[in-house]
């Protein structure tokens, strides 16, 4: 059995907010196996985003350990952590976060350029394949401002997947989209999950979105209060 893609052991995260300490996460234990399509659910302020930040290596835990693809994030230098994000994790944001001045093609290409490993021909093929996959091949030369919200989020999905990471994190990917478009995005992510075996972890508080997940981890007040397998998702 391969090692899990994510392994969190007794993780806590404490923020100092003025004079008070905010316990965003307490004693969180979580194992995510490769190929999962996992939803983190919970009300606002339950710690969903904090947990995703810790898994994504954009933040480190106050105590406990987070292993991503075998790497203990709290033991990595800033540089190595950045490298981990670049090579092992794809990100999809609630507000799409595309670089406004770059074209669709360039936005998708961006992680490959940062990696600096591929020839330009390979890059072009890879980017075009992904734009094809998310249905935006005709929009390669457009700027993000010329796209609808759903189209932008599809660009973001392509960008998250372009470097072929084993893990993609999505924080409320449908929160800024109408339900039909949001549904399409989740379908797209699910398709990629099935096709490439890429692990997806996404947070949401929308039950309809949760229903697509292979498993749901429920958070409340910074604690994991349950883990269940979503039957509906499995049924599809």
């Amino acid at each position: 059995m391969p090692e899990p893609i994510v392994e969190a052991v007794d993780v806590a995260k404490v923020y100092q907010l003025g004079k008070t300490q905010v316990h965003a996460l307490r004693h969180v234990d979580l194992v995510v196996e490769r190929g999962e399509f996992l939803s983190i659910a919970g009300p606002s302020g339950s710690g969903k985003t904090t947990l995703l930040n810790l898994i994504g290596g954009v933040d480190v835990p106050s105590s406990g350990t987070v292993r991503v693809d075998g790497e203990d994030t709290s033991k990595l230098t800033e540089r190595a952590l950045t490298r981990l994000r670049l090579d092992h994790i794809g990100f999809i944001f609630q507000t799409f976060n595309l670089v406004a001045v770059l074209t669709v093609f360039q936005n998708v290409e961006f992680p490959l350029l940062l990696q600096g490993r591929m020839s330009s021909d390979d890059r072009r093929r890879r980017v075009n394949a992904l734009l094809e996959a998310v249905g935006l091949a005709d929009h390669a030369r457009h700027r993000p401002s010329e796209l609808s919200g759903g189209q932008r989020q599809r660009v973001a999905v392509a960008r998250a997947l372009v470097a072929n990471p084993p893990l993609v994190l999505a924080d409320e990917p449908t929160a800024n989209l109408d339900s039909v478009t949001g549904g399409h995005i989740i379908d797209l992510m699910r398709e990629m999950n099935r096709r490439d075996g890429t692990t997806f972890i996404f947070s949401t508080h929308d039950p309809k979105v949760m229903s697509h997940a292979s498993a749901i981890v429920r958070l409340e007040d910074g604690r994991v209060v349950g883990r269940e397998t979503a039957q509906g998702a499995e049924a599809r």
Binding site: T49, L52, N53, G56, V58, D59, E78, R79, T82, R83, R85, L86, D87, F91, F93, Q94, T95, N97, V99, A100, V101, L102, Q106, E109, F110, P111, L113, L114, Q115, G116, R117, M118, S119, S120, R123, R159, D171, E172, A175
Partner: protein, 713 residues
């Protein structure tokens, strides 16, 4: 290989992002770029102008008086100032034996010529020069009252220093007179008040407070001091005593514009052309010249300009100078010519000349032509002409006034400096006459003094006193009351081994050895290669030291005194302006980029989350600023180059006053583009861009990937 290609692509996308960010915030980019472009225009234009001034002045000064290196006695109290300092002539200790210095200097490799020099001012009997000088100063004062005092006014200071120097010389004359006068006489008492007035005009206090009450001070000088200068008047001449033959070889810029050079080995003087224009020219003609210049060069108009109106009024009111020159035959001829030219039947010579000179803006150019074509040929325009003798009187080293007569061989003009009040006034005098004025005693003369003393039965007196008493002051008597038997000096001279008469003196040809052997104040050294000035200077000092002389070596620029300072001042002003503009640019670019960074926190955070290293973000900001700097710096440079060329095409910047003439070394300044100025401006822009990008880049680097996770709501 693919890594390299990827880096190139990364660089291209950085550049692309930078350019697109710049286009996206156009207003900010234009403001920042505009400032950068302006700064570069100023650098390119300013340094092109200054470089051209540098080149022109270098040529003019090196070619007319400065040479490449100047040597003078190291024991001198003042630094050498070829064109005079603001406080008058610098006091130099003499070089006792120029021949020895010359021989020593010529042993240094690369030395082509060594020219002896002695620079001083002296009086020449002429028209009432005090009034002319006062008028110049009055004009300065009026200009300053109307336009405010400029920060840098070498002319004004020079004019004041000149008047002070005149008062000093007058005072010296008067003091000499008092010392032989009968203290009980009424004349002595009358002269006491005059002497006190002169003393006031000489004192530093008077001049220090001059600017506080310029009109009152001028009034004092006009009413109390000016009348003391003799009615016939005298003028002040600034001259360089030199070996005329060597001088001509060394200074091609010194051109004889009328007459002929001083014949080799002979005595004589070449008067400065500008000096002749300013001080020796018929005043009506001079005023016409000045009105023409004011109209043509400065665009002034008689109808609107009080000064020009005054000149016209003076010309019509003071026709006596002209009429006095005309004998009856010439008077008739003048009237006939003017009647024809002016189309009038006026018979009265005074009225018709006044009519000619009654100019206005419509008829000025025609009248000017008529004056020079019809009337001037009948007149002596200059009070001294080639072949005349002038008497130069100067205080000798011992303080007594010595005087020499010299023939005028011609008029000399210093190319490039011909119009400069500071430099173009210079006349050239043979070194023998200069040595007489300076009070230098040749061995031959020292022997003569001994003989005279023996014959006259004089007791031993100090060397300075003896020299001055015998050669310096004519009828003057030593300060100490020494009992001297009256003697017939001429008889003694003749008996004493045949001193030449005046005629003989001017026909005599001195050998090169005689010209070289003797005192000089400084020596101009001409090198084969002007680029070796720096390395040759210490060698010259060493060579002189080996010959037993302690000399100081200075470059032509240092020796040019005020000139070098004004050049330095201009450079300082330019650098200061550039410094200020780029300091402003630095602050503005910095602020703009800080704002831009704060606006892009989310974008930067996203890039960081996706996997961009801090260095990438740093380079992004720097590339953006440097791109702005280089693009707009390039535009500024292009604009600067265009302006420089445009100025050249339109004939350059015209010199509208004497200071500009001096700085431009000619009537117009045609700026030359220097690669140095272009490289400098690019370097400055680059440096300023990097500096102003630093803080925003650090801010951008501190943006964490967490920022990407914040939602907008």
């Amino acid at each position: 290989m693919s890594v390299v290609a990827s880096r190139v692509r990364q660089g291209r996308i950085l550049l692309q992002m930078a350019m697109r960010n710049l286009v996206a915030s156009r207003v900010r980019t234009l403001v920042v770029g505009g400032i950068v472009a302006l700064g570069v225009v100023i650098v390119v234009l300013g340094s092109s102008l200054l470089d051209s001034i540098d080149v022109g002045m270098t040529r003019s000064i090196q070619g007319s008086l400065g040479g490449h290196v100047q040597l003078y006695n190291a024991a001198s109290r003042d630094p050498l100032a070829l064109y005079g300092g603001t406080m008058g002539e610098s006091v130099l200790e003499p070089i006792d034996d120029f021949a020895r210095l010359k021989a020593a200097a010529l042993t240094v490799p690369g030395v082509k010529l060594v020219v002896p020099m002695g620079i001083d001012q002296a009086m020449v009997s002429m028209g009432n020069v005090f009034d002319v000088a006062l008028e110049r100063l009055r004009a300065d004062v009026r200009r300053r009252m109307e336009q405010g005092a400029p920060a840098d006014a070498p002319d004004y200071e020079a004019h004041k220093a000149h008047l002070r120097r005149m008062a000093t010389l007058l005072q010296q004359e008067l003091r000499a007179a008092r010392e032989i006068a009968d203290e009980t006489s009424g004349v002595y008492r009358d002269r006491k008040a005059d002497f006190d007035a002169l003393s006031t005009a000489v004192e530093g206090g008077f001049w220090e407070t001059f600017d506080a009450d310029p009109l009152g001070s001028l009034e004092f000088l006009e009413n109390r001091v000016a009348p003391l200068s003799l009615d016939g008047g005298f003028t002040f001449i600034r001259y360089v005593g030199t070996d005329p033959e060597a001088f001509q070889k060394a200074f091609p810029g010194a051109q004889v514009v009328e007459g002929s050079p001083i014949p080799p080995g002979q005595r004589g003087a070449l008067l400065g052309k500008l000096y002749a224009e300013e001080w020796l020219k018929l005043r009506a003609a001079r005023r016409l010249d000045k009105i023409k210049e004011a109209r043509d060069l400065n665009g002034r108009r008689i109808a609107k300009d009080e000064e020009l109106q005054r000149w016209v009024k003076e010309n019509t009111g003071q026709t006596r100078d002209i009429l006095l020159q005309l004998d009856p035959v010439r008077t008739r001829e003048a009237v006939r010519r003017l009647q024809a030219a002016l189309g009038t039947k006026e018979e009265d010579p005074g009225k018709i000349v006044a009519a000619l000179l009654d100019t206005n803006d419509d008829n000025f150019d025609a009248r000017y032509r008529i004056f020079y074509a019809e009337l001037a040929p009948l007149l002596q325009l200059y009070s001294v002409k080639v072949g005349d003798f002038i008497t130069i009187k100067a205080p000798s080293r011992s303080g007594y006034v010595s005087s020499v007569n010299v023939p005028i061989h011609g008029f000399v003009e210093f190319r490039g400096l011909e119009r400069s009040a500071l430099a173009g006034m210079m006349s050239v005098l043979d070194i023998h006459s200069w040595r007489d004025l300076y009070g230098y005693m040749t061995p031959e003369r020292a022997a003569e003094v001994r003989r005279l003393k023996e014959r006259a039965g004089a007791r031993t007196v100090a060397r300075e006193d003896a020299e001055a008493a015998l050669f310096g002051g004519g009828a003057e008597v030593p300060v100490e009351p020494v009992a001297v038997k009256p003697f017939d000096e001429a008889a003694l001279l003749l008996a004493g081994g045949g001193r030449q008469s005046r005629e003989d003196l001017f026909r005599r040809r001195y050998t090169q050895a005689e010209t070289d052997t003797g005192v000089a104040l400084n020596a101009a050294v001409i090198l084969d290669d002007p680029r070796r000035i720096g390395e040759t200077m210490p060698k010259l000092v060493e060579a002189a030291a080996r010959a037993g002389m302690k000399v100081k070596a200075v470059t032509w620029l240092e020796a040019s005194g005020i000139v070098g300072q004004s050049m330095g001042l201009l450079r300082m002003v330019l650098y200061l302006a550039v410094l200020i503009i780029f300091a402003v640019a630095l602050v503005i670019i910095n602020n703009a980029m800080v704002m831009a960074t704060l606006q892009r926190v989310k974008e930067i955070g996203t890039m960081r989350a996706i996997g961009a290293q801090r260095r990438f973000v740093l380079v992004l900001v720097v590339v953006e600023v440097v791109t702005t700097g280089l693009v707009f710096g390039g535009l500024g440079a292009a604009l600067g180059i265009a302006i420089v060329h445009a100025i050249g095409w339109t004939g350059g910047i015209a010199a509208t006053n004497d200071t500009m003439y001096f700085l431009f070394s000619g009537p117009a300044l045609i700026p030359r583009l220097g690669t140095a100025s272009l490289v400098t401006s690019v370097a400055i822009v680059f440096l300023v861009s990097i500096l102003s990008a630093l803080y925003p880049a650090v801010l951008a680097m501190r943006v964490t990937p967490l920022e990407a996770m914040q939602s907008d709501e």
